[in-house]
Each structure stands twice: as structure tokens, then as C-alpha cells.
């Protein structure tokens, strides 16, 4: 069964809604959102509340539910 979640872009407050299958991975979600906002997927992490969503886990593993709000957060690297 598919669910629909909202992804908030923490960099500008924009939102997008995504339809997800139980086996969609967190990496797929980040890639889809990053592509939409012209970002580098590897430079981001995704959170639900205070929990970091691990890239390899699926929608089912992560326990995502319909109407969840996830936030895309930059994960910078300096040198």
C-alpha cells in the first residue's frame, strides 16, 4: 500500500509531497527531493522529528506513515 508524505526543504521552507511504496528507500526519497531542488543528494540527510532516517532503510523499516512530515537537512563537509 502506498503512503503520501511531505518533504520540507529546511533551506527555504518549500514543501513537496511524495507517494511512496513500502520498499522505497530513504536514499530514493533523498535523491528524488534533491533532484527536484537541484541539489547534490549526498550532501543531505533526512529526519522525522528527532530521528535520523538511515539511507538504506525502507519506508516499511523506518515505520513511515501516511501524512508524515520529513525534513531535508544539509550535511556539510568543511576542509
Amino acid at each position: 500500500m502506498t503512503i503520501e508524505v511531505t518533504i520540507r526543504n529546511a533551506e527555504n521552507g518549500s514543501n513537496l509531497n511524495m507517494e511512496l511504496e513500502p520498499h522505497t528507500t530513504i536514499e530514493d526519497i533523498i535523491e528524488g527531493a534533491a533532484e527536484f531542488w537541484h541539489k547534490e543528494a549526498g550532501a543531505y540527510v533526512l529526519r522525522r522529528g528527532k530521528k535520523l532516517l538511515k539511507g538504506q532503510s525502507t519506508v516499511m523499516d523506518a515505520g513511515l506513515k501516511n501524512e508524515d512530515v520529513l525534513e531535508l537537512i544539509p550535511d556539510p563537509e568543511g576542509g
Binding site: 533551506e11 527555504n12 507517494e19 544539509p74 568543511g78
Partner: protein, 199 residues
């Protein structure tokens, strides 16, 4: 299995005048280049940093200096528009435990929940307007790693990178313009009755 985007909404910068000129200043850590662009753009700056946020970044950089480590965090605020021109306010900064050395820094992924908690503690509707990090003793510039970060995550017009050298006591801000890194004019602002240079 790709995720399917069904709808979206783009947020627009909010209409709000920038901080009043008599509540904006340059900073004693500004390099000559920073002071020059500050003077040239003083009437309208694309980046204003609240003095408490500036102090937090500077103290963080000084604390890292004692361990000869770089430090890093995110600049939190909002993007605004006034008379057709866009600017960003940095109202606060957030950070967490870091994986850091003398020449490298990133968030410790085991400590990201601490970062998320700090985001939830902010008492305003935030946008991430940039990031800061330190270069202890090597001066302010954007390394190849820094530029990759800027291009990958902070490539919007309102995004900035602030670099601090706590040994030389220098500070410079940067942004991307037409794909190139350039100095970003910036000022420190304070709220009414909080003038750091009086009293």
C-alpha cells in the same frame, strides 16, 4: 524504487525591511576585503548576522582552536525581500558533536539527533541560510571541499558560507555567483537596546 512527486509549493521570501543602519556594523575580525565590500554595500547588505549568533560562531571557533580542530555549524534564520531586493538574516546557529581534525570537519552522524533537537528548540520559523566553519591558523578562504559543499547544498542566492580563523582573528563570508565563489557583503546587527558598543 523511485519516489513519486505528486505536488509541491515553493516558498517566497517574506517582505520585511532590513535592520536599521544604526543597528548594523562591521566586525573587528573582518578582513580588509570584508570591510571594503561592507562599506560599498552598507545601505543594503545581502547577509545580516545577529550579534549573538556571531558571538556563538566565534566562541565555537575559539573553543576548537584550543584543540587545533576545525568546527562547524548551520546558520539559521530566514530570507526576506525589501523593495525588490533579497537578503538573509542569520538569527541563530546550531551545531552538534563533530568529526573534526586540523583540516577537516563534518557532523558526527551519531550525534545528528542533538542537531535536530536544537532545530526544534528554535523559537522562529527557520530556514537554513548557510553554514560556518573554522580554519584555525590557515586564514579565510574556500577550499575545494568547502566549494563542493557550497555547490551541493548551499547553491541558492540567499546561501552563504562563513569562514573564521580564530588564530588570526579573521572572518570572511562567501557565496556562489554564476558558479564562482565570491566574497559576500555582510553586517552584524543587533536588536533594539542591545547595542554591543554602548553602555
Amino acid at each position: 524504487m523511485p519516489a513519486k512527486i505528486t505536488s509541491w509549493n515553493e516558498s517566497r521570501p517574506r517582505e520585511r525591511p532590513p535592520p536599521l543602519e544604526d543597528r548594523v556594523s562591521n566586525h573587528r575580525w573582518f578582513t580588509e576585503k570584508m570591510n571594503t565590500v561592507y562599506r560599498e554595500n552598507r545601505d543594503f547588505l545581502p547577509l545580516y548576522v545577529q550579534r549573538i549568533a556571531e558571538e556563538k560562531m566565534r566562541n565555537h571557533a575559539l573553543e576548537g582552536m584550543r584543540r587545533s580542530h576545525e568546527v562547524m555549524g548551520l546558520m539559521m534564520g530566514g530570507r526576506f525581500e525589501w523593495q525588490g531586493r533579497e537578503y538573509a538574516l542569520t538569527r541563530d546557529v546550531v551545531t552538534t558533536e563533530l568529526e573534526a581534525s586540523e583540516y577537516h570537519v563534518r557532523f558526527d552522524h551519531d550525534a545528528l539527533e542533538g542537531l535536530f533537537e536544537s532545530l526544534d528548540d528554535l523559537d522562529f520559523d527557520y530556514s537554513i541560510v548557510g553554514w560556518y566553519h573554522s580554519h584555525p591558523g590557515i586564514g579565510c578562504f574556500m577550499s575545494d571541499t568547502d566549494i563542493s559543499t557550497q555547490e551541493g547544498a548551499f547553491n541558492m542566492a540567499h546561501h552563504s558560507a562563513l569562514v573564521l580563523d580564530p588564530v588570526r582573528r579573521e572572518m570572511e563570508a562567501y557565496c556562489l555567483r554564476d558558479g564562482k565563489v565570491v566574497i559576500r557583503p555582510m553586517g552584524i546587527y543587533w536588536d533594539l537596546h542591545q547595542d554591543p558598543y554602548r553602555g
